[in-house]
Subunit: 166 residues, 2 copies
DNA sequence: GCAGATGGTTTGTGTAGCACCAACCATTTA
DNA sequence: TAAATGGTTGGTGCTACACAAACCATCTGC
């Protein structure tokens, strides 16, 4: 395919120049399409897409506090409680009190959680084929790496911090 | 469905070596982070993130029917009506009756819509810096291209674009 | 021509996933 | 000991949808 990115031409195929190539809307679009397909694929596993997001984040931030998780997921702390209640009731995550500060809960994946996450990822194969069908396997791999790096990049510095200045 | 194991990696964290590298949850995670930041950035332009998604899709599928748009955005037709009402009231899109089938509305960006979309994309710069800060400019470019290609590839078959390439 | 299907619109109802508030306990810090 | 903090619970409200019903204009097949 000739996909001439960022060439200013007569036809308005895409953003006019390179300064406006924003991933945000595309991210949202594809995420929605993926979300809809994920729901049905995850139902047999007793999970919802947001649970999977949490598990995925937890795999990369094991031992995070609930506040840290709230910061990474960018959802209110009270909703994190409910989310973790679900996951803990299913035996997929574990809340232990932090030895350093016994007010804190240290959240981590259990064996069952790791296993379930892997199963869920397998179950998402069809959804991904559907939504990312236009990409070659190699490109999907590339995409995954980029998303993962971006995702990790926005967690560690402020994962457990209270400072909103990051 | 038989899924062979992927190639072995040396990465420590993340999916186990043979695990499936699914972009879905990451996509959703990053889309949410982007969404939250986009909202405030778009408010001064009188737009909401979903409007921007629609405009972005329209730029690539100009002359699509409302049903086609509903299919691409994967939202119910009745909600497309409301979405387009917003955008048309703002003068950003245009609904014309299709000459071939006068039941249809052919939707396209107006000049103002194209311009506003570009402005919005500029306004999203900060949000993107924030969410994709871990990626180099080059990688962001790469990401954009992948997302865009995936997004274009998942248009419903013969959705009714101007150029019926199929 | 006519019946039925189709594209779009309106209205109205329901729901999921959140935010946000207030009260509370356990614990840490000043 | 008082105040701040991490987490929990219960409650309210909002937004972005899905979904259904009724409707008009138009197209299609007989």
């Amino acid at each position: 395919m000739f996909l001439g990115p960022r060439r200013l031409g007569h036809m308005s195929a895409g953003p006019a120049d390179e300064s406006e190539r924003r991933s945000g809307p595309l991210l949202q679009h594809l995420a929605r399409r993926m979300l809809l397909r994920s729901e049905s694929a995850l139902t047999p596993l007793g999970l919802r897409p947001r649970h999977l997001v949490a598990l995925t984040v937890l795999r990369d931030s094991d031992g995070i506090s609930q506040q840290g998780l709230a910061g990474t997921l960018q959802i209110d702390g009270t909703n994190v409680v409910g989310l973790l209640n679900d996951l803990e009731a299913a035996g997929l995550v574990e809340r232990r009190r932090s030895p350093e500060d016994r007010r804190r809960h240290v959240v981590s994946l259990t064996m069952a959680g790791t296993k379930r996450l892997r199963e869920a990822e397998c179950a998402l194969a069809d959804a991904e084929d559907d939504v990312l069908g236009a990409l070659t396997p190699d490109e999907r791999d590339q995409l995954y790496d980029l998303l993962r790096r971006a995702s990790q990049g926005c967690a560690p510095p402020c994962a457990g911090a209270v400072e909103p200045a990051c």
